[in-house]
Symmetry: C2
Subunit: 717 residues, 2 copies
Amino acid sequence: MRHRHIVKKRMEGCWEQVKGAHDAWSGWVCVLLVGVAAGTCAGIIDIGATWMSDLKEGVCLEAFWFNKEQCCWSGPSLNATSLDSAIKCKQWYSWGQMISGGSDAGSYIIGYLFFVLWALLFGMLAAMLVRVFAPYACGSGIPEIKTILSGFIIRGYLGKWTLLIKSVGMMLAVSAGLSLGKEGPFVHVACCCGNIFSYLFPKYGRNEAKKREILSAASAAGVSVAFGAPIGGVLFSLEEVSYYFPLKTLWRSFFCALIAAFILRSINPFGNDHLVMFSIDYDEPWHLQELIPFILLGALGGLFGKFFIKFNIMWCRYRKFSRLGNYPIFEVLAVTFITALLSYPNPYTRMNTSELIKLLVSRCGPEDDVELCDYGRNLNMTDTFKYSAVAGNDVHSALWKLALALIFKMVITIFTFGIKIPAGLFIPSMAVGAIVGRMMGIGFEQLIVSNPDSVFFSNMCEAPDKCIITPGLYAMVGAAAALGGVTRMTVSLVVIMFELTGGLEYIVPMMAAAMTSKWVGDALGREGIYDAHIALNGYPYLDSKEEFTHTTIAADVMRPRRNDPPLAVITQDSLTVEETESLLRNTEHNGFPVVVSRESQYLVGFVLRRDLNLAIANARKTSDGVVSNSVIYFTGHVPVNPHGPAPLKLRKILDMAPVTITDQTPMETVVEMFRKLGLRQTLVTHNGRLLGIITKKDVLRHIAQLQNQDPESILFN
Amino acid sequence: MRHRHIVKKRMEGCWEQVKGAHDAWSGWVCVLLVGVAAGTCAGIIDIGATWMSDLKEGVCLEAFWFNKEQCCWSGPSLNATSLDSAIKCKQWYSWGQMISGGSDAGSYIIGYLFFVLWALLFGMLAAMLVRVFAPYACGSGIPEIKTILSGFIIRGYLGKWTLLIKSVGMMLAVSAGLSLGKEGPFVHVACCCGNIFSYLFPKYGRNEAKKREILSAASAAGVSVAFGAPIGGVLFSLEEVSYYFPLKTLWRSFFCALIAAFILRSINPFGNDHLVMFSIDYDEPWHLQELIPFILLGALGGLFGKFFIKFNIMWCRYRKFSRLGNYPIFEVLAVTFITALLSYPNPYTRMNTSELIKLLVSRCGPEDDVELCDYGRNLNMTDTFKYSAVAGNDVHSALWKLALALIFKMVITIFTFGIKIPAGLFIPSMAVGAIVGRMMGIGFEQLIVSNPDSVFFSNMCEAPDKCIITPGLYAMVGAAAALGGVTRMTVSLVVIMFELTGGLEYIVPMMAAAMTSKWVGDALGREGIYDAHIALNGYPYLDSKEEFTHTTIAADVMRPRRNDPPLAVITQDSLTVEETESLLRNTEHNGFPVVVSRESQYLVGFVLRRDLNLAIANARKTSDGVVSNSVIYFTGHVPVNPHGPAPLKLRKILDMAPVTITDQTPMETVVEMFRKLGLRQTLVTHNGRLLGIITKKDVLRHIAQLQNQDPESILFN
């Protein structure tokens, strides 16, 4: 008997240990699963998007499920960034070739037609899927995830339908050739995975605060798979997305991003082994005077960010408050049509935006025969490609085309970001910046090449015809500056740019441009694009970046105001069930403070409306003798009263440790407490007596009022 | 008149604007200055240390103030990592050469003698300087800076004397050839700069919390100049050093680290343009099965970290509590003597530790003729160096020497870290890891080269004699793993390793090793080396990483305990000056709660001992009629009493908004409030009545008790 008891106890001990280990490891296991899922989703989306993008141009006759690259594997290896449209590949037939049968003009027109038609089809499909199945699947998702991580709950935003529709919609939207990227939607998809998997672990599924830790890790995985930038993803989650980021979350995010990147690398959707997306092959030193154009690029990036945000928000506001908002599918079709129509003629807009960026940041090698590399070089010398040279005619024509592409991209992106399909912003912003950077780089290069003896440039030229300057570096810096201006990231931006390009030598130029871009942007308006969209949608987001510098005190903000009716409170031992029920009916507060007595107002605790409703309903159903006249007791000791009705003891549902502050507390401290402790309300006391209550909504309204904004635009659940 | 008024007003407006701008920009200007100062200090230290290190071996006869490299600039360019001691350089005379006049054995012995003597001289100087002028200048400084950033104040720890002596002492300690690094002391030096410059800006100099933001940025600059790793520095500050790290600090740290790296690059102390310290020149892909040795290296790193911490703490505790602690200079001399004596014979320990790491992580190129590169390669093929080959005899002898160097480094570092001179830990830990990694890499390489047809390795070999495996990569991963095991960093570690080596392709191996190392280390004991030293010294550091998982409540922790005398409180309108003075004499508390009356105990506010002392002394000196019998009033309204002595009004010094909690608050919440709000004490109430007080010391004692540690070892100022 005793033996059995010991065995049982030991087994229980083992079980306890397993349970303890499970509890300790469940976080790691959960982020492992999220990483695997995010990597897998990204792989599928990338494969699908590549196939459908190629479908716009032609089809693989032998096996239609192959994309262009796979189709041509049997042929000679091809340069993916080649601008030459007549690629020699036997199995691949472009639509123009196939139908017109060879005539150049006819082939061009039919190609154009198919390009536009496929784009319209993809756009319509994406818009309809989003409209019908998952309205939350539109947009970038980052503003909403920021809000969710700050403590707001949007039901269904991270559900499995959203995951499915966002994934399919993203493939379609990218294939339609619209000016949008995949990183924002990837973050959203990863967060959906995080939300779904957290339900497997009760520790995370049942606790919203714990679940937010998983979501922080998931958003790191999202950026990690979008760019192959695991560390950049962790920093993005830290700097841009997350609200509360303890070190444990840092480690888990790191792990999650690592797993996701590893899975994506194993799936290898693009068929090349590179983890580095826009890898550069140069490491020439840069010179001190080049800092001037770099800082100028930073300033331009900040300006672009400011104006992009302004016009985009203007257009989104117009959409929201006008009849346009009722026809989302029509809007998507219109934007797709215009994009497809205008982008086909210009090779720099027709090509995939990622490929454009890759082309712009790279250096002209000896074997490159694209327009941008038409320099008057003496090809008899072996290392001539290390040095800059006078630009040829093709470079000038490329500059014109780039300028047109720049204007087109800038305008169309303003109208694209915000339409009702999945749409990210990183790649379009980087493309704009890279175009400006490459143009400025070529301009600076020509300036130096034509004045090699000038004192300003003397250290850049070894000999009059041997000047070292790399226009691709300017494109890289420009891309960072534009992205920084739009999103106001700094550290994560520089790390993402490293991981994208591998250009570790160019840390100082990149940092200088990122800081300038942020400063210029902040001087013109403090909000990044995501914060601006949060404000536009009126989400209750308490920004943790801005300092609260006003001198108001808690007494100025708390409810009730001077002429309001007194605060609805519950006494600890005198209110009857009926009185409480009428209080619940007549007010809409989420909770009520409990005080010693209505006269003294000494605070005892706080009780939630939900708990109170539930407890009374339960008591009415089950407990003997609880009637409308029963007194509700929140005290530990209940006096025995044999004549009256049975008392109702509710001490269990009372929160005995509500957060309190005094009426003299500066609002600076109050805001800090709301932010750091993640409060939803705090009670205001004076000498121990309850005076009022401050909710998160009150704080947000107060901040909006101090900034002369409309305090009534703030939502709250 | 009116015109003048307007002009004056406008000027005042301008002045106000300038002042406002100054206020807004002072943070940026301050970190700019800190960055410049940190970069300059680092440059001076690097130049001095290089010169003095070379002085141990020889002297430049033409100009003794030149170091070896500068001295030999006129000669042919030299390979800095060359192991060949007979370097052909006319101006440079080694001591052996100069005195023995050419005989090899004599030259060796005299060289040995001078090496040991110089080392002893440098060691003694460093120890005496620290002992006499600035006792705080010893050690790494990171544990103390962590404690300071958590809110503790150590006077003089960041003063100008510490700055000066730490800088000079670091040069001497590095030159003495001890097994120590510069990064910890660099962080300390940068923080001293931060502290000194913050006094130029009243906003930062007068506010300890604001000053800590500057110190966080300064520690980023410290790592930035130590390794040329600005982003790694920011992340180090975030992950390891800082306690509270808002986004604004992130941006400032980023800027500060950037400026410091830029200044150091401009000073260019090593005479080469590389920002990347241990730059690698390979980017061969790694293979999936190589993850097994990488993870094994991670586990070994974690084990090394655990044992290093354990023995180092044991030795430090012995030093602290035995007579050894009274002879710090003797200890330094003994360690220096043993180090110099044992390190000279082995070329891998005689050389600079940084150079050793650089040698170990690099690949054998075609022109390398060092021992480690003696492979049986067919030199008639052009690209043969891309492939692994059978190791020659020299590699085997190098392995033996490396094994000896490993044991020596491991043992001597345990005794070195903690002696009373400036000493960092990064470089020695990385050296240990790099040795293990290179040895394992060579072993794995030979295993594959001898079994190229095995199924396990088939994808690593293109042909039986064409296997791709890079032992240098293993050294890199091993260095990361050992450093991770000692410090328990993850993200910052991987970023620092990137910035040190430029090996962006190897992100997954590095991350895998760092995570494994952390997990293994944490499984064996949760503390990193810095936390262990904080605990050893008993600093009041409330770790923000560990979760508080116990179910105690505030009532269990607060003072007074059940049988203690009641809490010393002050009433708001009945205590006389004399009674208050006796209270101040008889207690040692830092502050006193103010209540409505002794009977009711309703809380009004909190008053600091310092303020109370000052106010009473002032009143006694100046105010008419304030005598021992005067009543002290903390209320707004003071009753007029013409007969009694004049009242003393002290409402001004009363903190009307002390942080309060109820006695039922779980300690988990209390600990979170202490951490996140940076509290020093909180008052405990029940239904508005004051029950007791919880100070930071009480919380730390409680945590120590729960972990079965001695609660009395905690210091507090």
